[in-house]
């Protein structure tokens, strides 16, 4: 293999890169730089940003707490129907977000399968609430944690767990002190992807949790609404989200891609 890249590969890579970068360039080019300060000072924008961070971080945490054990079971336990379960767990990635939202409504809405019971028994309503926004975001981002973690667990030589076992460690202790430290890079990568997905979540959120400033209106929803009345403001707000996301991804990229 020569050191030069074959021309078609280079060309495809350039087109791919341009394809992804162009929308961001478009945003930057048409941003109302003069109005940036106003937009950010506005209560709507700041509330949306705060809510976005809250919801995305909570969804990431929930995805990790639930997703890592799930990935562990899928990786290590053989049981009938395992491939079906795995397919279902990954399904939210493939599902159109609005469809995911509809599904959530049918299950957890006020008149939903489980939601109805929650409402009647505990008076707990997830729709139209911040908790609902977190649920919607978790639903679409947890599969990313599961995928990354399962790959990590599967790639781990079983003998490490065996060694821990013969040395007297319970499976739980072995998981905590031997396995998790060894798959930490993959888990972290999964968590970052999940966070990014949760931050950008729109379709499931607006369908399931609704759209209300301060409670469920995250930045994507705020931008969508701003498009109706103040297009420039929408562009400004979009750019803020882009900048925040890029900053975090760049800061973490080395740690996760490099170290792993």
């Amino acid at each position: 293999m020569g050191r030069r890249l074959p021309l078609p590969v280079l060309l495809a890579a350039l087109i791919g890169g341009a394809f992804v970068v162009l929308p961001v360039v478009g945003l930057v080019a048409r941003a109302p730089w003069g109005r940036f300060g106003d937009v950010l000072a506005g209560e709507g924008a700041r509330t949306a940003l705060r809510l976005s961070l809250e919801v995305s971080l909570a969804a990431t945490a929930l995805s990790v707490v639930l997703g890592v054990p799930l990935a562990w079971v899928l990786a290590r336990r053989e049981f009938r129907g395992r491939s079906v379960v795995r397919a279902l767990v990954v399904l939210p990635i493939v599902l159109p977000p609005v469809v995911a939202g509809v599904g959530l409504l049918e299950a957890l809405g006020r008149r939903g399968l489980v939601g109805g019971w929650l409402d009647r028994t505990f008076g707990l309503q997830l729709t139209f609430s911040t908790a609902g926004a977190i649920v919607a975001a978790t639903f679409v981002s947890m599969p990313l944690v599961v995928l990354a973690s399962e790959a990590g667990f599967r790639g781990l030589d079983r003998r490490f767990e065996q060694a821990a076992g013969v040395l007297g460690a319970s499976p739980g202790y072995a998981l905590r002190r031997v396995v998790l430290p060894m798959v930490a890079p993959q888990l972290a990568a999964g968590a970052v992807l999940a966070w990014a997905r949760a931050l950008g979540e729109f379709g499931a959120t607006i369908t399931f949790a609704g759209n209300l400033q301060g409670r469920t209106q995250t930045v994507p929803l705020a931008v969508f609404q701003e498009l109706q009345t103040d297009r420039d403001g929408a562009v400004a707000l979009s750019l803020v989200l882009v900048v925040v996301s890029v900053a975090v991804l760049v800061a973490l990229r080395e740690r996760i891609m490099g170290a792993g």
Partner: protein, 264 residues
């Protein structure tokens, strides 16, 4: 061998990209020539017109063989913005004068005329769990109300109406979600997720919801303007469609879907 494959992939990607960017229609000549090619007419219409215009569209196709009508339904404000940036629309039928004004400013419209009116109505789930009997009931404690967002015509109208009724503050405090359009409001209420919503009269015909009339003195009459978009790909066909909508058959269809007649 590998190189050939790579070139083929790059080549096809470029072809696909250019094909997609060439404005909209995959069919041929703009002028109505041979009958073997269909002519595409693109109509941007407010989402409240979805049911009615789908019927009108199919009627128009029957009356004009070789024509295929494509609709883009959405919030009028959204549509006006899209028309300004995209340039693929032939006809624009809006639920608000403001949105039409925006389109008139950029890119410009011709043959603007009002073709229908609509009123507001309060909707509830079929079993009406919150017992809504009047506009004032929307202000009751614990009632979960959904409206279309501000900036969406029906959302603005609803707020106008609530203001006229004097219950603006209380009802707005009960709003749990601002939906992108009236169709979304109907969806939330019909499913029982929300207790009540405010939409157009035309929305309830096809929906499984209960309804409460809004008194005439506070109700907002929405006037729907229609126009041909400047630099439309099919200007003649667009005018033809507009005439159809304002004509006998079109008006009858609109009435059957709950719209009021065009204002004199």
């Amino acid at each position: 061998m590998m190189k050939k494959v790579l070139w083929a992939m790059v080549g096809s990607a470029l072809v696909v990209a250019t094909a997609c960017s060439s404005n909209g229609s995959s069919s041929a000549a703009p002028s109505a020539s041979s009958s073997s090619t269909t002519t595409e007419l693109t109509v941007f219409a407010a989402s409240s017109l979805t049911a009615a215009f789908t019927q009108i569209g199919s009627d128009f196709e029957t009356a004009n063989p070789g024509v295929h009508v494509t609709f883009n339904f959405g919030s009028s404000t959204d549509l006006a913005a899209q028309i300004a940036s995209e340039g693929t629309a032939d006809v624009f039928a809006s639920a608000s004068e403001t949105a039409m004004d925006a389109a008139a400013a950029d890119p410009g419209v011709a043959d603007r005329t009002d073709f229908a009116t609509n009123q507001l109505v309060i909707i509830t789930p079929p079993d009406d769990p919150a017992n809504i009997g009047s506009v004032e009931d929307l202000a009751n404690e614990g009632v979960q109300v959904v409206l279309a967002a501000e900036g969406v015509p029906v959302g603005d109208y609803a707020r106008e109406m609530l203001d006229s009724a004097g219950v603006s503050t209380e009802v707005l405090a009960n709003v749990v979600s601002n939906e992108p359009d009236d169709a979304a409001v109907v969806a939330k209420v019909a499913s029982g997720e929300a207790d009540a919503g405010v939409v157009y009269l035309s929305d309830i015909a096809a929906a499984d919801v209960g309804s409460v009339a809004v008194p005439e003195d506070i109700n907002v009459i929405a006037t729907y303007p229609i126009a041909v978009v400047t630099a439309a790909p099919q200007p003649d066909l667009a005018t033809s469609f507009e005439t159809f909508v304002t004509g006998g058959q079109g008006q009858a269809t609109l009435t059957s879907f709950g719209f009021g007649p065009a204002p004199r």
